[in-house]
Symmetry: D2
């Protein structure tokens, strides 16, 4: 049901997005930073602009956002039924508005973007699947945390719709567009097609794919982290690469990071910085009991296995993905990590990727005509290579 764009590699090495002939994105999902008035207002303004200018598009919101904003929008929005108070991660206060009724999916009997027959729509996993099935594009309004959160809604699919990310007020490292350009930025995405003069370039943010020994699978944008958490004792973690023991880490924990995540937790732990289009995984220890555990960059086709060593004391290590707890790993359990799509070969020039095999990670729309946002981010946000002194008196 969702409209898959094609992705082609240009001669200059850029990945370009275009909608299939005759198609346009129809269901636009918004994710916003919670609890801030500025993103609330921006969402309303932006959504109104879209539904007015491109009448055939629909807006998808998360239940709580829909509940709090639908009455400010002139067109019904699509969402999931509100989760139960209990299963909801955020307190949910429904404030129905008489004038603009709160539109559940059931309001749209023909070709609903979100099926009414959902068996148990309060299940977060189920919810994710719905977004994954219908959202043709995702717009984020907020900082890096908002992008990571939006990414988490697509963490169980291998085919992620294009992300158009707007920084609101403060600039994060992952956000690219200024909110003030929202009209032209959306138009570029909406009209991206072969004929269009300016091809729409995307940065495929590689994800890593983690499978636990219990069979759960998740894709991460930043990293998978194992940490002793509040256990006072050092974690002992065996690390295998392609089936061979690499080393036993005795440490606070370890990070297996994507190139995107190399500027997140891994950087704080002493990791080096990978350009996001490097096709590698980065292994960084957190406070290791060794002077010689240097961060490692591993090639695209390796499989890393992490396992709590039998020498570990304590109650297991905490496993988290992109800053969210995934669970606790006990002795004997393990997680296998690969670069998503890493087994295949990298996309060659002119090759077209629309099979959704996950080689594009999260396709993030680049800022038009902008310099390399990464270099800018390094310098402005990370204060990369800030020279010493010589300040004027």
């Amino acid at each position: 049901p969702r409209i898959q764009p094609n992705y082609t590699k240009s001669r200059h090495g850029e990945i370009e997005l275009q909608w299939p002939a005759g198609s346009r994105p129809r269901n636009i999902m918004f994710v916003k930073k919670p609890g801030v008035q500025v993103t609330r207002d921006a969402l309303v303004e932006f959504a109104e602009h879209i539904t007015t200018t491109y009448p055939e598009t629909n807006i998808i919101l998360e239940p709580t956002v829909a509940a709090s904003l639908h009455h400010r929008l002139s067109k019904p929005v699509y969402t999931l039924p509100p989760p139960n108070q209990h299963s909801s991660p955020f307190p949910f206060t429904q404030s129905p508005d008489a004038r603009t009724p709160y539109h559940f999916a059931t309001d749209e009997p023909t070709s609903p973007p979100i099926s009414p027959a959902s068996p148990d729509p309060t299940q977060p996993f189920f919810a994710r699947n719905l977004y994954q099935t219908y959202a043709d594009a995702v717009i984020t309004l907020g900082g890096d945390g908002t992008i990571l959160y939006a990414a988490s809604l697509f963490s169980t699919t291998t085919s992620v719709p294009p992300f158009l990310t707007f920084a609101m007020g403060t600039l994060g490292f992952l956000g690219t567009h200024k909110y003030s350009t929202y009209e032209s930025a959306f138009r570029s995405l909406y009209t991206a097609a072969t004929a269009s003069s300016a091809p729409l370039q995307v940065l495929p943010r590689h994800r890593l794919s983690a499978v636990s020994s219990s069979g759960h699978q998740l894709n991460a944008m930043n990293e998978l982290t194992l940490h002793r958490g509040q256990t006072p004792h050092l974690a002992h973690i065996d690390i295998e690469v392609n089936g061979h023991l690499l080393t036993e880490a005795v440490a606070d924990g370890i990070i297996i990071s994507t190139p995107t995540g190399s500027t997140a937790y891994s950087l704080s732990s002493g990791g080096c910085i990978l350009h996001p289009s490097v096709g590698s995984l980065l292994l960084t220890p957190i406070c290791p009991r060794s002077l010689s555990f240097r961060p490692l960059v591993l090639p695209r086709d390796v499989e890393i296995l992490v396992r709590l060593s039998r020498r570990s004391r304590g109650n297991g290590v905490e496993v988290s993905v992109d800053g969210r707890t995934w669970g606790t790993m006990a002795v004997g359990e393990e997680v296998r990590v690969r670069l998503e799509g890493g087994g295949g070969h990298a996309l060659g020039t002119g090759e077209i990727e629309n099979s959704g095999i996950g080689m594009l990670g999260i396709p993030c729309v680049k800022r038009e005509g902008g310099e390399d946002a990464w270099v800018g981010g390094l310098n402005r946000l990370l204060k990369f290579n800030y020279a010493f002194g010589e300040e004027m008196e």
Copy 2:
């Protein structure tokens, strides 16, 4: 004239070498660690074994090695005429032997591996071209320095013959085979063909390709280094990535390293470790006047430009390649660095590479049935992640 192997990528991601149908390597070049008796004796033993067992093969040596060892070999060897005393980097003492005359190239009128008509054979560049034209395989006897030296003989070609590297006495990080296995190791290389049961796996050691503003070009196995040398003042180096200024380094110098070189100078300067099959360049500062110049890993298709900044004092910085001085860079001069073959796409499964476009760097024959030599090297040689204490009393 030289026999180019084909290289195929297996389903398991391995690069496999095979000689073209009906062909076998014919001219085997030896490079040995100088000044050590053990490599001298090994070379004689090994060369005798080859010329006896595979009578159609020839041995190529460097002039000084030929001069000192030809009389111990039963078959004439091929070499270049001895360089002039003055142009020679090593003192050269010719000790002709009556019994086994010293065979210059001119001794072999039919199909000489090394042409007698060479205009000025004392030119080092010319010499390199001759090795590049005739050597079908290169055998090194020594440590990492010997391999780097052998690589330097092929630094101006994009098509390097396979390297079979033997550690002698001490283990280096780049050497793979134990000398005691020389007979079977050579046989595997010699007979590598489709039909052979065990395909010959090689590790393509990516090189970087550097072009100076004066038009000189060189490929490096480890790294290109800019260093203040003996100038007491800090170097100021502008670094551009794909035409955009990345940063100005104020430092002792900078290193642009291949994945192979990530365990060499870059490691000493605080760089992270890249698996040699990662297709990236690594940028590491040497003693920067900044707390926040973290090493960077850049993708395969970037071009890095380094230029002495106008703010530099002093007489330029020293540029060296793989530990050998390349020259001094003055204000206004620049060097451009790419991953060799980085513009193209990575080799896909089943694709065959025999065009010599330089995507294989230095194809190094892997040890048969061996575990990942890289993991072994990390642990044994770099003492990677050596755990603290708890030594027995």
Copy 3:
């Protein structure tokens, strides 16, 4: 009631211990690594040796150790009443032995080393005070953890008896004596006096002194750590030095370490190594969100104040001392840290210290005639500056 040694600084800068004229240590406290047979046996052997050879000495044990070992000792031992099952940190199984009754303090009415009138002997703080009041010397049998544990029993006094530390089986970084030398090592301590030919050198392990805003105070041998614990969000910690804001750390946490602790957690977090007799505090961040938070070494007379910043989200940070949880610090609370005795001046040559003002930290008896145990530990246990490679084949 306890016998305070005098400490003098020799011309060579060594701190030398001697008992006051006519005095000898009378109450010897043993602390051993729990759960290991070898330390159990060693304690019995060592204690028997002492009580036999120096009949006027008494042995002090912790209640659980006393309970499990008193029947193997020929002379009654002194201890505290067993703590309540509930307040005890370790499961306590009393196994009274008919033959050698279990001697509580009450068995020794005259000049009891441990007062029978203790109001509530199950209070750990009270217990510590008793050890602090009577133990003339402390002998540890175990690794670094055992020494840290023994030190924690004296964490609320400024005057710590001399420690004689024995490594058992494995060598730790802090332990000094080999168990096999226990007889001579104890004799040197016992007989240390002006007249003795070989003066007894001690290493004064400086402690840090921490005071919480709630008024609790504790001395640490290794470090005070603030850590986000299991909170997924970064901690924001304001750090003041002598009343001036130094910086706000946004990080997993921070470590304020003694020189002794510089080889513990701080080292894993990237700190440098301080010789234990440097009179400084070391401030090391744990995974800071900054590229430029380099560890700091602060002079002996500073006061460092750490406070949860108002910008912190989450439920406070965990505060721990020498690897033991001290509590959780909420927004508004703070801890002040000084080098113990740091306000005074360093001991000058020939000056005598017996006032117990805490300038000697934990006086650890050095190994006789040994080389600097610290250099040995660096090299053998921390694998300091392990050279690369060049391993023999």
Copy 4:
């Protein structure tokens, strides 16, 4: 002949300067950054102010400075005879002025600040001694380089006059006073005495003292550095601490740094930051061939010996002091380094130091009422702990 101030340690740990009863500084030496108009003008203005306001004072300049500025000053200045063209490190152009004759020392027959009978005044060592003999205070106008240069003029004495350092235009890390405050800053220094309401606080910048095996001795403000220089091969340097081998460094070089120098070259090499009043030496390797050579902080009373190891290839290492070449160290030669005055004990509260035994290093006048200049410098100049991102759009 020079007037030695007394230094007392206050109860708050501050070192306070006061001139002996009835004395005032008489000979004021100026050192300025060369080649910059702004420091030239400042020197003239400042010197005129001093000689006008405090008529009994004399000005001492270096020969080249005297030559170029004496005609702009209304009172004769004292200097050395101009060095020979050949021995001079800077080109020297004498421009005598008829109106205000260029005053060599010979112009001042009675109580000359600089003796006319100097045997060979072109000797730099001799020159230094003269400054050391007569300058009662040193004023620097320029950045860190100027202060280091001024310090080098006193590198062979153990008793350095107080330094009053002014930043000109740009702020360095070591400079303290703003030029605009020059009048009050000098007055505070001039009038510093017991009776003065505001005692004059100085920061004693500890120096290290280096003695070569050839008998030369030098004190350094920042560091002693051993570096391979332009030798391509790694230096092998044996390091002994108090006569025991600590380790063999295989590296580009090593740095032995004072606390002051911890923010200079050592910082670039990965060293930690020591507060300048920490009484320790810091040992930092430069690009070591080891993953586990962590910087070391050594106590005040150690002696470090560095020696070129017999395993070194090449022509020795370059030894430099505070960024100036001291010489080349060959195999067999060695340098011994101590903290200047480190053998003695630290100054106790109320103790008076006027014996010139070198425990005060370079006494640098602190800015009045200023916050800790060190904290300010860390934050403003070193960008210590610059937080990431979250820049406003």
